[in-house]
């Protein structure tokens, strides 16, 4: 079947098997490999992307379900060659080690802070339940997200 969508601002159209998972479509058919697969059961969040502005786990959607959607992946988060503030905050706060969970972690956090400027540390920790990191112990991830959340509240 044919699926068409906008990914990172670019219109794409491909023939796929109906059962193709969105994450495989993005990684294999479009070669956007920043989106990762870490669990297959939608716990780990490594495949988190934005679908029509909302976060979604791409391992839990079929490519067909995203037909017509506007999708942003980690590759499309930076604007005009500038890192998104969440990317900068992860770098500045040592919020990543092996980097495998990082694209999903950043995509989830960016959407969360956009919708919840000024979020508290408790709210951030609770929200991040859907994204698993094995390296950082979350400490610096929380610090990074809090930094952006504070800045977002200050600018509001």
């Amino acid at each position: 079947m044919n699926v068409s969508m906008t990914i990172n601002g670019e219109a794409v159209s491909r023939e796929v098997e109906a059962r193709t998972l969105l994450v495989h479509f993005i990684r294999e058919d479009l070669d956007l490999t920043g989106t990762k697969i870490g669990c297959d059961t939608s716990q780990c969040g490594a495949c988190t992307i934005h679908v029509n502005g909302k976060i979604a786990k791409a391992c839990t959607l079929l490519a067909a379900q995203a037909d017509g959607a506007d999708i942003t992946t980690i590759e499309g988060l930076a604007e005009n060659g500038e890192h998104h503030p969440m990317q900068t905050a992860f770098w500045e706060n040592h919020g990543l080690q092996c980097g495998y969970c990082t694209p999903g972690m950043i995509m989830a956090s960016a959407a969360f802070v956009r919708d919840n400027p000024g979020a508290s540390e408790d709210e951030i920790r609770h929200y991040l339940e859907g994204n698993i990191c094995r390296c950082t112990g979350y400490h610096n991830i929380v610090k990074a997200v809090k930094q952006v959340a504070d800045a977002a509240a200050g600018g509001a």
């Binding site: 098997e17 059962r19 193709t20 495989h24 990684r27 294999e28 070669d31 956007l32 490999t33 920043g34 989106t35 990762k36 697969i37 870490g38 669990c39 297959d40 059961t41 716990q43 780990c44 490594a46 992946t73 980690i74 590759e75 988060l77 930076a78 890192h83 990317q87 992860f90 770098w91 500045e92 040592h94 990543l96 080690q97 092996c98 980097g99 495998y100 969970c101 990082t102 694209p103 950043i106 540390e121 408790d122 951030i124 920790r125 609770h126 991040l128 339940e129 994204n131 698993i132 990191c133 094995r134 390296c135 950082t136 112990g137 979350y138 400490h139 610096n140 991830i141 929380v142």
Partner: protein
């Protein structure tokens, strides 16, 4: 040495490619025309293969080939590479595909090669295998008993080894004469390492040149090259192993697995590239597990609180086959650590490696040392309880006094340096220990159950002197090598044999080079993970890359600096003895305006227009570094918890970690290692644990069922440090990759048991889930 870059928490040089999604991990690399491999895996934990019918599978769309165990006779079995001596070690055969008997759920029986990943998996599901079930045993203590189901004909009684290097009579005498002996059966439950990137491997074979390239998720590509060469029969110089970006390992990407051998073999057989990536379920079934000890532990003490001895009998579950380094983990890396930071004069360990119908175990973050630290710290609290002493006072009384250059302990090791009481005091001050005890008493009157756990630890890492490796049967060296290569324009490539995969070594190692030679950190690229591009190295594990590779780079840099000094003197027509160095610049004493930068010197060395007599051109030095001893980081960790007696749930309120890894090259990266290690260790205490049913089915086979630690289980950590340099290391550093995991499990466990002690609860098997805590409270109350 410049102090500005060494010790600075600069941002990591790795991160730009990782935060943008540009980094390429193994399964991100597409190979033109590749087939996808899927593995047909046993659904039974122990069974005889009666027949395999792949005819229906072979007819499915896209299927190019199917192979079973009988087809791969030219692929040798996977070797065990840590052959511990004087233990009657048996190494049962581990074929890449089982052709006779399967011994754990997940054991491979066939592979399918197809055009797409989905087609390969469809066909794997369609391969019909007829099994005849055999009896199953998964508990290592049960598997060692008479009458237990037997796994391997050549491993009598399932006992793969029995390691007991200490004097049993001396130990018995200490325990017979002691005032107090406390005993406990400790379960070190199985854990799933769970690197966030599952394993993957891709291979490409060039029949014309006879060269195989294997991309795989490896912590040690040179070891993978050695083993892949051995199992395929290809000469080692025709095998190139590339570990591209690797998404965590924690020990689980040290071993060479059947899958890596199979993609290599299939690529050679079929003449097309092969890709394979495991699912998380496959990862939980077939990637090594950690821990799995049943320990029977005793500690002896005098009435006045002197610890006299510790002894343990350990049944260590090896799983169905002996993984690459498995025999060394519950022995060399475990029993030699029974002294810890204490003046314990007598230790005894009998470690029994037992084959079980479960996934093979091997090194998992800490690897043997967490299991040793846990038993010591648990028994310290039990002794304190038996003597009615404060556990902090008991520990303090037994700490080894400060030493700066060598301390021999009863287990046979020589610790390098330590000041345990300084870290102990610092942590207790941060925690406010005395005040806490008052708050605890007050809270109890209000019906609230607070607890504190205090762990003093030291551990052995920076593995290690190669002579020792040989003496303990490790089938390799443990040195590292590195090349510092400076281009004509003064940019640096540092080529290392180790293979970091998240530790930030591209940054910390660049900081070492920068502090030695004065090149800006941003001009230094650390290159790793490719056996053709990099010099030989034994890999990244055992908290060894900063201590061992870091030393090699420091020494290579010093060779270059000496060459630069002599060349600079020649260019400035001065005596080399009159040359002063500061911040990347060489000048003549007394004439500071006459100077040559390190970049100037590098260019002149490349041009070689005007070299001193006898000096070779170029600006590049290599160093092989074999450490003279291990390094021994140490510290004290403290946890404060509150347990809800109604629900059994545990609230980790504070976590204090004071660690001493010598001078910190990058404090931010050190802190990150500790944060992550602590969470992994706390998770063992509180939530993680593999569960098999009696049939050997893995019930915790997905992240739905296996409890990974999440952000909301933890407070912000409170970190402190002391700085005690290693006397034998060129820049004094010790490893810090595993300390968090080693210290934190007993810290939190003891805190919970401290909170529960007024309720009469004295022991609960880990993990301390709310249900188990609640049940333990009910059981204790039942006696009231």
């Amino acid at each position: 040495m410049s102090t500005r870059i060494f010790g600075s928490g600069i941002k990591r040089r790795e991160d730009p490619r990782l935060i943008t999604g540009e980094a390429r991990y193994t399964d991100d690399i597409k190979l033109q025309g590749a087939l996808h491999m899927a593995v047909v895996r046993s659904p039974y934990a122990h069974a005889r293969i009666v027949s395999i019918d792949a005819s229906a599978a072979a007819d499915l769309p896209g299927v190019r080939a199917i192979f079973t165990g009988s087809d791969i006779g030219d692929l040798a079995g996977l070797p065990t590479a840590w052959l511990i001596p004087e233990s009657d070690l048996k190494t049962p055969e581990h074929p890449a595909l089982a052709s006779d008997v399967v011994r754990y759920v997940g054991d491979g029986v066939a592979i399918v090669l197809a055009d797409s990943r989905y087609q390969a998996q469809d066909a794997a599901d369609a391969v019909l295998v007829d099994y005849e079930e055999l009896p199953v045993v998964v508990d290592p203590h049960e598997a060692a008993q008479a009458g237990a189901p037997q796994l391997h004909a050549d491993v009598e009684g399932n006992i793969a080894f029995r390691w007991a290097p200490f004097d049993k009579d001396a130990s018995d005498a200490v325990f017979a004469a002691a005032d107090v002996v406390v005993s406990e059966r400790i379960l070190q439950q199985r854990l799933l390492p769970t690197a966030m990137e599952p394993r993957a491997a891709s291979a490409q074979y060039n029949a014309a040149t006879g060269e195989l390239t294997l991309w795989c998720t490896s912590q040690n590509p040179h070891i993978h090259r050695f083993i892949v060469s051995a199992v395929t029969g290809l000469p080692e110089n025709k095998v190139r192993v590339i570990a591209p970006e690797v998404g965590g390992g924690f020990g689980s990407k040290i071993p060479c697995y059947p899958d890596e051998a199979l993609v290599s073999w299939a690529a050679m057989k079929l003449g097309v590239p092969i890709r394979w990536a495991e699912t998380r379920s496959e990862n939980y079934l077939t990637t090594i597990h950690g821990r799995d000890h049943v320990q029977f532990v005793d500690m002896a003490a005098s009435n006045d609180g002197k610890i006299l001895g510790v002894r343990a009998t350990v049944y260590a579950g090896m799983g169905a086959y002996l993984s690459t380094a498995a025999p060394g983990i519950p022995t060399i890396l475990h029993g030699l650590l029974y002294v810890g930071p204490y003046t314990i004069d007598n230790v005894y360990c009998e470690s029994i490696g037992v084959m079980t119908n479960a996934t093979p175990t091997d090194a998992y973050r800490g690897a043997g040392r967490p299991e040793a630290t846990f038993l010591l710290e648990r028994m310290m609290d039990k002794v304190a309880d038996a003597l009615d002493m404060d556990p902090v006072a008991l520990r303090r009384q037994n700490l080894i006094p400060p030493f700066a250059d060598g301390y021999d302990v009863a287990a046979g090791l020589t610790y390098d340096s330590g000041d345990y009481e300084a870290a102990f005091d610092k942590a207790l001050a941060m925690a406010g220990y005395d005040d806490f005890r008052a708050q605890q008493t007050q809270a109890l009157q209000e019906g609230r159950y607070l607890g504190i756990g205090v762990t003093a630890y030291t551990e052995m890492c920076g593995l290690g002197p190669s002579q020792v490796a040989g003496a303990v049967g490790f089938q390799g060296g443990l040195w590292e090598s590195a090349t510092v290569r400076v281009t004509p324009t003064g940019k640096v490539q540092a080529l290392i044999g180790a293979s970091p995969h998240g530790q930030g070594s591209e940054t910390t190692l660049a900081q070492i080079i920068s502090s030695e030679l004065g090149f800006p950190v941003d001009d230094i690229e650390v290159i790793h993970g490719d056996t053709t591009e990099t010099p030989m190295g034994w890999g990244t594990y055992g908290s060894r890359t900063t201590p061992v590779t870091g030393a090699a780079l420091a020494q290579a840099s010093r060779k270059l600096k000496e060459k630069a000094r002599v060349l600079a003197a020649h260019l400035m027509e001065a005596n080399p003895d009159d040359i002063e160095y500061a911040d990347g610049s060489f000048s003549v004493k007394g004439s500071p305006d006459q100077a040559q930068s390190i970049q100037d010197v590098a260019l002149m060395a490349h041009l070689a227009w005007n070299m001193p007599e006898g000096m070779d051109p170029g600006f590049e030095e290599s160093q092989f570094y074999d450490p003279p001893n291990f390094v021994y980081p140490f510290g004290t960790h403290i946890a404060i918890v509150e347990v809800d007696p109604v629900t059994g749930s545990i609230d980790l309120q504070r976590y204090i970690a004071v660690d001493d890894c010598g001078p910190q090259i990058n404090p931010e990266i050190v802190a990150g290692q500790i944060h992550g290690g602590v969470v992994q260790g706390v998770a063992q205490a509180l939530c993680e644990g593999v569960i098999y049913d009696d049939n050997g089915q893995l019930l915790t086979g997905t992240m739905l069922d296996y409890c990974m630690p999440k952000a909301d289980m933890f407070p912000n950590f409170e970190l402190g440090e002391t700085v005690t340099p290693s006397p034998h290391h060129p820049v004094g550093v010790k490893g810090v990759g595993e300390t968090g995991t080693i210290a934190s499990t007993p810290t939190v466990y003891n805190a919970v048991l401290d909170a529960l002690s007024p309720l009469g609860v004295a022991q609960i098997d880990m993990p301390l889930t709310a249900a188990k805590v609640w049940q333990a409270i009910q059981n204790a109350n039942g006696g009231n």
